[in-house]
Protein backbone atom coordinates (compact mmCIF):
# COMPACT_ATOMS: atom_id res chain seq x y z
CA UNK A 1 0.00 0.00 0.00
CA UNK A 2 2.83 2.34 0.79
CA UNK A 3 5.08 1.26 -2.04
CA UNK A 4 5.03 4.78 -3.43
CA UNK A 5 6.22 6.26 -0.17
CA UNK A 6 8.79 3.50 0.28
CA UNK A 7 10.15 4.11 -3.20
CA UNK A 8 10.41 7.83 -2.52
CA UNK A 9 12.12 7.13 0.79
CA UNK A 10 14.66 4.86 -0.86
CA UNK A 11 15.71 7.78 -3.07
CA UNK A 12 16.46 10.22 -0.24
CA UNK A 13 20.19 9.41 0.09
CA UNK A 14 20.77 9.81 -3.65
CA UNK A 15 18.73 13.00 -3.78
CA UNK A 16 20.77 14.43 -0.93
CA UNK A 17 24.00 13.55 -2.69
CA UNK A 18 22.84 15.17 -5.92
CA UNK A 19 21.52 18.27 -4.17
CA UNK A 20 24.72 18.67 -2.18
CA UNK A 21 26.87 18.47 -5.29
CA UNK A 22 24.50 20.76 -7.14
CA UNK A 23 24.45 23.50 -4.50
CA UNK A 24 27.63 22.73 -2.53
CA UNK A 25 25.82 23.88 0.60
CA UNK A 26 24.51 21.33 3.07
CA UNK A 27 21.57 23.41 4.31
CA UNK A 28 20.38 24.61 0.93
CA UNK A 29 20.75 21.06 -0.37
CA UNK A 30 18.60 19.55 2.36
CA UNK A 31 16.05 22.34 1.93
CA UNK A 32 15.82 21.39 -1.72
CA UNK A 33 15.43 17.72 -0.87
CA UNK A 34 12.78 18.51 1.71
CA UNK A 35 10.81 20.63 -0.76
CA UNK A 36 11.19 17.89 -3.34
CA UNK A 37 9.85 15.24 -0.97
CA UNK A 38 6.96 17.40 0.17
CA UNK A 39 5.96 18.06 -3.41
CA UNK A 40 6.36 14.44 -4.41
CA UNK A 41 4.21 13.20 -1.52
CA UNK A 42 1.63 15.84 -2.21
CA UNK A 43 1.56 15.18 -5.94
CA UNK A 44 1.40 11.44 -5.61
CA UNK A 45 -1.80 11.41 -7.62
CA UNK A 46 -0.07 13.24 -10.44
CA UNK A 47 2.54 10.55 -10.68
CA UNK A 48 1.16 8.03 -13.11
CA UNK A 49 3.66 5.21 -13.21
CA UNK A 50 6.78 5.97 -15.18
CA UNK A 51 10.18 6.32 -13.61
CA UNK A 52 9.95 7.60 -10.05
CA UNK A 53 13.66 8.32 -9.92
CA UNK A 54 13.55 10.63 -12.96
CA UNK A 55 10.42 12.28 -11.63
CA UNK A 56 12.11 13.12 -8.31
CA UNK A 57 15.22 14.46 -10.04
CA UNK A 58 12.94 16.54 -12.25
CA UNK A 59 11.21 18.10 -9.25
CA UNK A 60 14.52 18.80 -7.55
CA UNK A 61 16.01 20.27 -10.71
CA UNK A 62 13.04 22.57 -11.23
CA UNK A 63 13.05 23.72 -7.62
CA UNK A 64 16.73 24.48 -7.86
CA UNK A 65 16.19 26.39 -11.08
CA UNK A 66 13.51 28.48 -9.37
CA UNK A 67 15.84 29.09 -6.48
CA UNK A 68 18.68 30.13 -8.76
CA UNK A 69 16.42 32.32 -10.81
CA UNK A 70 15.32 34.19 -7.73
CA UNK A 71 18.95 34.64 -6.72
CA UNK A 72 20.05 35.67 -10.18
CA UNK A 73 20.24 39.35 -9.44
CA UNK A 74 22.28 38.93 -6.30
CA UNK A 75 26.02 38.50 -6.14
CA UNK A 76 27.12 35.00 -5.35
CA UNK A 77 29.85 34.13 -2.90
CA UNK A 78 31.97 31.06 -3.04
CA UNK A 79 31.90 29.14 0.26
CA UNK A 80 35.03 29.74 2.29
CA UNK A 81 34.54 27.19 5.01
CA UNK A 82 36.45 24.56 3.04
CA UNK A 83 39.69 26.49 3.30
CA UNK A 84 41.00 24.52 6.27
CA UNK A 85 44.70 23.89 6.55
CA UNK A 86 46.18 20.44 6.92
CA UNK A 87 43.51 18.63 4.97
CA UNK A 88 44.35 15.18 3.75
CA UNK A 89 44.92 14.54 0.07
CA UNK A 90 41.39 13.24 -0.40
CA UNK A 91 39.89 16.27 1.28
CA UNK A 92 42.01 18.57 -0.85
CA UNK A 93 40.80 16.77 -3.95
CA UNK A 94 37.25 17.11 -2.72
CA UNK A 95 37.72 20.84 -2.36
CA UNK A 96 39.16 21.06 -5.85
CA UNK A 97 36.26 19.19 -7.37
CA UNK A 98 33.74 21.32 -5.48
CA UNK A 99 35.43 24.52 -6.63
CA UNK A 100 35.57 23.29 -10.20
CA UNK A 101 31.85 22.43 -10.03
CA UNK A 102 31.14 25.94 -8.81
CA UNK A 103 32.55 27.37 -12.02
CA UNK A 104 30.00 25.57 -14.21
CA UNK A 105 26.74 27.11 -15.35
CA UNK A 106 23.73 25.42 -13.77
CA UNK A 107 22.48 23.31 -16.63
CA UNK A 108 25.94 21.97 -17.38
CA UNK A 109 26.59 21.15 -13.74
CA UNK A 110 23.27 19.33 -13.51
CA UNK A 111 24.03 17.24 -16.59
CA UNK A 112 27.50 16.32 -15.40
CA UNK A 113 26.21 15.28 -11.98
CA UNK A 114 23.22 13.36 -13.27
CA UNK A 115 25.45 11.43 -15.66
CA UNK A 116 28.50 10.73 -13.54
CA UNK A 117 27.20 10.81 -9.98
CA UNK A 118 23.63 9.59 -10.36
CA UNK A 119 24.12 7.35 -13.39
CA UNK A 120 21.13 8.58 -15.37
CA UNK A 121 20.94 8.04 -19.11
CA UNK A 122 21.21 10.87 -21.63
CA UNK A 123 17.59 10.21 -22.56
CA UNK A 124 16.40 10.52 -18.93
CA UNK A 125 18.33 13.76 -18.50
CA UNK A 126 16.88 15.17 -21.72
CA UNK A 127 13.42 14.53 -20.25
CA UNK A 128 14.36 16.01 -16.88
CA UNK A 129 15.73 19.19 -18.45
CA UNK A 130 13.09 19.31 -21.17
CA UNK A 131 15.65 19.61 -23.97
CA UNK A 132 16.69 17.46 -26.94
CA UNK A 133 19.27 14.78 -26.29
CA UNK A 134 21.80 16.68 -28.44
CA UNK A 135 21.62 19.58 -26.00
CA UNK A 136 22.35 17.22 -23.11
CA UNK A 137 25.42 15.94 -24.94
CA UNK A 138 26.75 19.39 -25.73
CA UNK A 139 26.19 20.49 -22.11
CA UNK A 140 28.04 17.41 -20.94
CA UNK A 141 30.96 18.03 -23.30
CA UNK A 142 31.23 21.66 -22.21
CA UNK A 143 30.96 20.72 -18.55
CA UNK A 144 33.76 18.19 -18.82
CA UNK A 145 36.02 20.52 -20.79
CA UNK A 146 35.40 23.33 -18.33
CA UNK A 147 35.95 21.10 -15.29
CA UNK A 148 39.17 19.74 -16.74
CA UNK A 149 40.49 23.26 -17.28
CA UNK A 150 39.39 24.35 -13.83
CA UNK A 151 40.96 21.33 -12.14
CA UNK A 152 44.24 21.77 -13.97
CA UNK A 153 44.24 25.47 -13.13
CA UNK A 154 43.75 24.52 -9.48
CA UNK A 155 47.05 22.71 -9.31
CA UNK A 156 49.76 25.13 -10.32
CA UNK A 157 52.40 22.67 -9.13
CA UNK A 158 51.61 20.50 -12.09
CA UNK A 159 51.86 23.36 -14.53
CA UNK A 160 54.93 24.19 -16.43
CA UNK A 161 57.24 26.36 -14.31
CA UNK A 162 59.70 28.66 -16.00
Amino acid sequence: MNTFRDSVEAMIPALRRYARALTRDADIADDLVQDTLVRALRSKRLFLGGDLRSWLYTILTNLNRNRRRSLARKPSFAPLQDATAGASGTEAEGRDIARALATLVDDQRAVLLLVTLEGLSYREIADIQGVPIGTVMSRLARARAHMKAALEGERPALRRVK
Binding site: R5, V8, E9, I12, P13, A14, R16, R17, R20, A21, A29, D30, D31, V33, Q34, D35, L37, V38, L41, S70, L71, K74, T90, E93, G94, D96, I97, A98, L101, L112, L113, V115, T116, L117, S121, Y122, M137, L140, A141, R144, M147, K148, L151
Partner: protein
Protein backbone atom coordinates in the same frame (compact mmCIF):
# COMPACT_ATOMS: atom_id res chain seq x y z
CA UNK B 1 28.43 -4.05 -37.57
CA UNK B 2 31.98 -2.88 -37.05
CA UNK B 3 33.03 0.10 -39.10
CA UNK B 4 36.41 1.15 -37.79
CA UNK B 5 36.89 3.54 -40.69
CA UNK B 6 34.22 5.96 -39.53
CA UNK B 7 36.07 8.67 -37.54
CA UNK B 8 35.24 8.75 -33.86
CA UNK B 9 33.52 11.94 -32.71
CA UNK B 10 33.89 13.64 -29.34
CA UNK B 11 30.27 12.76 -28.59
CA UNK B 12 31.21 9.12 -29.00
CA UNK B 13 34.05 9.47 -26.51
CA UNK B 14 31.58 10.76 -23.94
CA UNK B 15 29.06 8.09 -24.82
CA UNK B 16 31.83 5.49 -24.51
CA UNK B 17 32.64 6.24 -20.87
CA UNK B 18 28.98 6.79 -19.99
CA UNK B 19 27.93 3.41 -21.39
CA UNK B 20 25.72 5.08 -23.95
CA UNK B 21 27.66 3.97 -27.00
CA UNK B 22 26.07 1.37 -29.28
CA UNK B 23 27.97 -1.88 -28.85
CA UNK B 24 28.99 -1.97 -32.49
CA UNK B 25 31.03 1.23 -32.07
CA UNK B 26 32.93 0.23 -28.96
CA UNK B 27 35.66 -1.53 -30.89
CA UNK B 28 36.12 1.46 -33.16
CA UNK B 29 36.44 3.83 -30.20
CA UNK B 30 38.95 1.60 -28.44
CA UNK B 31 41.03 1.34 -31.60
CA UNK B 32 40.84 5.12 -31.97
CA UNK B 33 41.97 5.74 -28.40
CA UNK B 34 44.94 3.41 -28.82
CA UNK B 35 46.05 5.50 -31.77
CA UNK B 36 45.26 8.94 -30.32
CA UNK B 37 46.97 9.47 -26.97
CA UNK B 38 45.51 12.97 -26.49
CA UNK B 39 41.99 11.63 -26.71
CA UNK B 40 42.96 8.72 -24.47
CA UNK B 41 44.22 11.26 -21.93
CA UNK B 42 40.97 13.23 -22.13
CA UNK B 43 38.92 10.11 -21.55
CA UNK B 44 41.17 9.20 -18.63
CA UNK B 45 40.71 12.66 -17.10
CA UNK B 46 36.92 12.40 -17.44
CA UNK B 47 36.97 9.09 -15.63
CA UNK B 48 39.16 10.57 -12.89
CA UNK B 49 36.66 13.44 -12.62
CA UNK B 50 33.80 10.99 -12.09
CA UNK B 51 35.82 9.17 -9.44
CA UNK B 52 36.61 12.43 -7.67
CA UNK B 53 32.90 13.36 -7.68
CA UNK B 54 32.00 10.02 -6.15
CA UNK B 55 34.81 10.30 -3.61
CA UNK B 56 33.58 13.74 -2.60
CA UNK B 57 29.81 13.24 -2.58
CA UNK B 58 29.04 9.55 -1.99
CA UNK B 59 29.61 10.16 1.71
CA UNK B 60 26.52 12.38 1.68
CA UNK B 61 24.41 9.46 0.52
CA UNK B 62 25.90 7.33 3.29
CA UNK B 63 25.03 9.81 6.04
CA UNK B 64 21.99 9.01 8.15
CA UNK B 65 18.98 10.89 6.78
CA UNK B 66 18.42 14.01 8.91
CA UNK B 67 15.30 13.98 11.00
CA UNK B 68 13.62 16.73 9.03
CA UNK B 69 13.79 14.61 5.88
CA UNK B 70 12.26 11.50 7.40
CA UNK B 71 9.47 10.42 5.15
CA UNK B 72 7.12 9.62 8.03
CA UNK B 73 7.53 13.12 9.28
CA UNK B 74 6.90 14.69 5.91
CA UNK B 75 4.02 12.43 4.97
CA UNK B 76 2.27 12.78 8.31
CA UNK B 77 3.41 16.09 9.66
CA UNK B 78 0.76 16.16 12.36
CA UNK B 79 2.61 15.18 15.50
CA UNK B 80 0.11 15.80 18.20
CA UNK B 81 -3.18 17.57 18.27
CA UNK B 82 -4.19 19.27 21.42
CA UNK B 83 -7.85 19.93 21.79
CA UNK B 84 -7.93 21.40 25.21
CA UNK B 85 -8.11 24.22 27.58
CA UNK B 86 -6.93 26.81 25.13
CA UNK B 87 -9.76 26.07 22.76
CA UNK B 88 -12.20 26.38 25.58
CA UNK B 89 -10.92 29.81 26.51
CA UNK B 90 -10.99 30.86 22.88
CA UNK B 91 -14.52 29.65 22.53
CA UNK B 92 -15.47 32.26 25.06
CA UNK B 93 -14.74 35.10 22.71
CA UNK B 94 -15.81 33.42 19.50
CA UNK B 95 -19.46 33.68 18.69
CA UNK B 96 -21.33 30.44 18.16
CA UNK B 97 -21.87 27.29 20.13
CA UNK B 98 -18.50 26.06 21.18
CA UNK B 99 -19.56 23.03 23.10
CA UNK B 100 -20.42 20.84 20.15
CA UNK B 101 -16.96 19.99 19.02
CA UNK B 102 -15.60 19.64 22.53
CA UNK B 103 -17.97 16.75 23.00
CA UNK B 104 -16.34 15.02 20.06
CA UNK B 105 -12.97 15.36 21.70
CA UNK B 106 -9.91 13.68 20.32
CA UNK B 107 -11.88 10.88 18.75
CA UNK B 108 -13.35 13.15 16.11
CA UNK B 109 -12.03 12.19 12.71
CA UNK B 110 -9.91 14.79 10.95
CA UNK B 111 -12.14 17.23 9.17
CA UNK B 112 -11.27 18.85 5.89
CA UNK B 113 -10.53 21.95 7.91
CA UNK B 114 -7.88 20.04 9.83
CA UNK B 115 -6.30 18.89 6.57
CA UNK B 116 -6.45 22.51 5.47
CA UNK B 117 -4.67 23.49 8.67
CA UNK B 118 -1.92 20.95 8.10
CA UNK B 119 -1.30 22.47 4.67
CA UNK B 120 -1.08 25.85 6.33
CA UNK B 121 1.36 24.57 8.96
CA UNK B 122 3.44 23.00 6.26
CA UNK B 123 3.56 26.31 4.38
CA UNK B 124 4.39 28.06 7.64
CA UNK B 125 7.26 25.71 8.38
CA UNK B 126 8.53 25.96 4.82
CA UNK B 127 8.59 29.73 4.59
CA UNK B 128 9.34 31.08 8.05
CA UNK B 129 12.87 29.73 7.83
CA UNK B 130 13.34 31.42 4.49
CA UNK B 131 15.64 34.35 4.99
CA UNK B 132 15.95 35.79 1.54
CA UNK B 133 12.66 34.91 -0.12
CA UNK B 134 9.95 34.43 2.45
CA UNK B 135 7.36 36.15 0.27
CA UNK B 136 6.58 36.85 -3.35
CA UNK B 137 5.26 40.35 -2.85
CA UNK B 138 6.71 42.52 -0.09
CA UNK B 139 4.61 44.18 2.58
CA UNK B 140 5.74 47.56 1.27
CA UNK B 141 3.40 46.90 -1.67
CA UNK B 142 0.44 46.17 0.55
CA UNK B 143 -2.21 47.57 -1.81
CA UNK B 144 -0.91 45.60 -4.77
CA UNK B 145 -0.54 42.47 -2.63
CA UNK B 146 -4.12 42.67 -1.39
CA UNK B 147 -5.50 43.34 -4.85
CA UNK B 148 -3.55 40.48 -6.40
CA UNK B 149 -4.39 37.93 -3.71
CA UNK B 150 -8.05 38.95 -3.62
CA UNK B 151 -8.34 38.41 -7.36
CA UNK B 152 -6.71 34.98 -7.16
CA UNK B 153 -8.52 33.57 -4.13
CA UNK B 154 -11.88 35.01 -5.16
CA UNK B 155 -12.77 37.02 -2.05
CA UNK B 156 -11.45 40.14 -0.40
CA UNK B 157 -8.07 39.80 1.25
CA UNK B 158 -7.22 42.60 3.59
CA UNK B 159 -3.92 42.04 5.36
CA UNK B 160 -4.70 42.61 9.05
CA UNK B 161 -2.85 45.39 10.86
CA UNK B 162 -0.98 43.68 13.66
CA UNK B 163 1.11 46.61 14.83
CA UNK B 164 -0.70 46.34 18.16
CA UNK B 165 0.93 42.92 18.57
CA UNK B 166 4.31 44.25 17.50
CA UNK B 167 4.13 42.56 14.11
CA UNK B 168 4.84 44.08 10.74
CA UNK B 169 3.69 42.67 7.42
CA UNK B 170 6.63 41.04 5.63
CA UNK B 171 4.49 40.32 2.58
CA UNK B 172 2.60 37.50 1.03
CA UNK B 173 2.44 34.82 -1.56
CA UNK B 174 -0.08 32.70 -3.40
CA UNK B 175 -0.15 28.99 -2.63
CA UNK B 176 -2.12 26.02 -3.88
CA UNK B 177 -4.79 25.27 -1.30
CA UNK B 178 -6.73 22.04 -0.79
CA UNK B 179 -9.68 23.26 -2.86
CA UNK B 180 -8.77 26.67 -4.19
CA UNK B 181 -5.77 29.01 -4.23
CA UNK B 182 -4.66 30.15 -0.80
CA UNK B 183 -3.35 33.53 0.27
CA UNK B 184 -0.38 33.39 2.61
CA UNK B 185 0.68 36.44 4.61
CA UNK B 186 3.75 36.67 6.77
CA UNK B 187 4.33 38.97 9.75
CA UNK B 188 7.48 39.55 11.70
CA UNK B 189 8.35 41.05 15.06
CA UNK B 190 11.47 43.16 15.66
CA UNK B 191 13.09 40.08 17.19
CA UNK B 192 12.48 38.01 14.08
CA UNK B 193 9.56 36.00 15.44
CA UNK B 194 7.34 35.11 12.49
CA UNK B 195 3.61 34.52 12.24
CA UNK B 196 1.76 33.53 9.11
CA UNK B 197 -1.87 33.75 8.08
CA UNK B 198 -3.12 31.23 5.55
CA UNK B 199 -6.56 31.68 4.09
CA UNK B 200 -8.52 29.96 1.35
CA UNK B 201 -12.03 28.85 0.51
CA UNK B 202 -12.88 25.90 2.74
CA UNK B 203 -15.63 23.33 2.79
CA UNK B 204 -16.43 24.15 6.41
CA UNK B 205 -19.11 26.84 6.82
CA UNK B 206 -18.46 28.64 10.11
CA UNK B 207 -16.58 27.13 13.02
CA UNK B 208 -15.11 28.33 16.25
CA UNK B 209 -11.40 28.75 16.74
CA UNK B 210 -9.36 25.64 17.40
CA UNK B 211 -5.81 25.00 18.33
CA UNK B 212 -3.29 22.60 16.86
CA UNK B 213 0.41 22.19 17.48
CA UNK B 214 3.07 20.36 15.63
CA UNK B 215 6.76 20.23 16.37
CA UNK B 216 7.58 23.78 17.49
CA UNK B 217 4.76 25.46 15.59
CA UNK B 218 1.32 26.26 16.87
CA UNK B 219 -1.74 27.26 14.93
CA UNK B 220 -5.21 28.56 15.58
CA UNK B 221 -7.68 27.82 12.86
CA UNK B 222 -11.26 28.70 12.15
CA UNK B 223 -13.58 29.25 9.27
CA UNK B 224 -16.05 31.96 8.58
CA UNK B 225 -18.79 31.62 5.97
CA UNK B 226 -16.88 29.22 3.75
CA UNK B 227 -13.48 30.83 4.16
CA UNK B 228 -10.85 29.13 6.29
CA UNK B 229 -8.13 30.90 8.26
CA UNK B 230 -5.04 29.49 9.91
CA UNK B 231 -2.79 31.65 12.02
CA UNK B 232 0.51 29.92 12.72
CA UNK B 233 3.40 30.97 14.88
CA UNK B 234 5.92 29.84 17.45
CA UNK B 235 4.46 27.36 19.89
CA UNK B 236 6.28 28.55 22.98
CA UNK B 237 3.81 31.24 23.95
CA UNK B 238 0.20 30.24 23.48
CA UNK B 239 -1.16 33.45 24.95
CA UNK B 240 0.73 35.38 22.34
CA UNK B 241 -0.58 33.16 19.56
CA UNK B 242 -4.08 33.61 20.86
CA UNK B 243 -3.65 37.37 21.10
CA UNK B 244 -2.47 37.59 17.49
CA UNK B 245 -5.21 35.26 16.28
CA UNK B 246 -7.80 37.36 18.06
CA UNK B 247 -6.50 40.51 16.35
CA UNK B 248 -6.67 38.73 12.99
CA UNK B 249 -10.13 37.38 13.70
CA UNK B 250 -11.50 40.76 14.66
CA UNK B 251 -10.24 42.34 11.46
CA UNK B 252 -11.18 39.57 9.04
CA UNK B 253 -14.64 39.45 10.51
CA UNK B 254 -15.08 43.10 9.72
CA UNK B 255 -13.75 42.83 6.20
CA UNK B 256 -16.07 39.93 5.48
CA UNK B 257 -15.40 36.53 3.97
Amino acid sequence: MTEPNIPVTEDELHAYIDNELPVERRGAVETWLAAHPEDAERVRSWRAMAEALHARYDTVADEPVPQRLEIERLARPQRRVLYGAIAATLAAFIAGGATGWLAHGVSAKPSSLQAFTLDALEAHRLYVVEVRHPVEVAGSERAHLQQWLSRRVGYTIKAPELDGSGLKLVGGRLLPGPQAPAAFLMYESPTGERFTLYTSRAAAPTTQMRYVTRASDGALYWSDRGVGYVLSGPDDDKNRLEQVARAVYDQTEKSGG
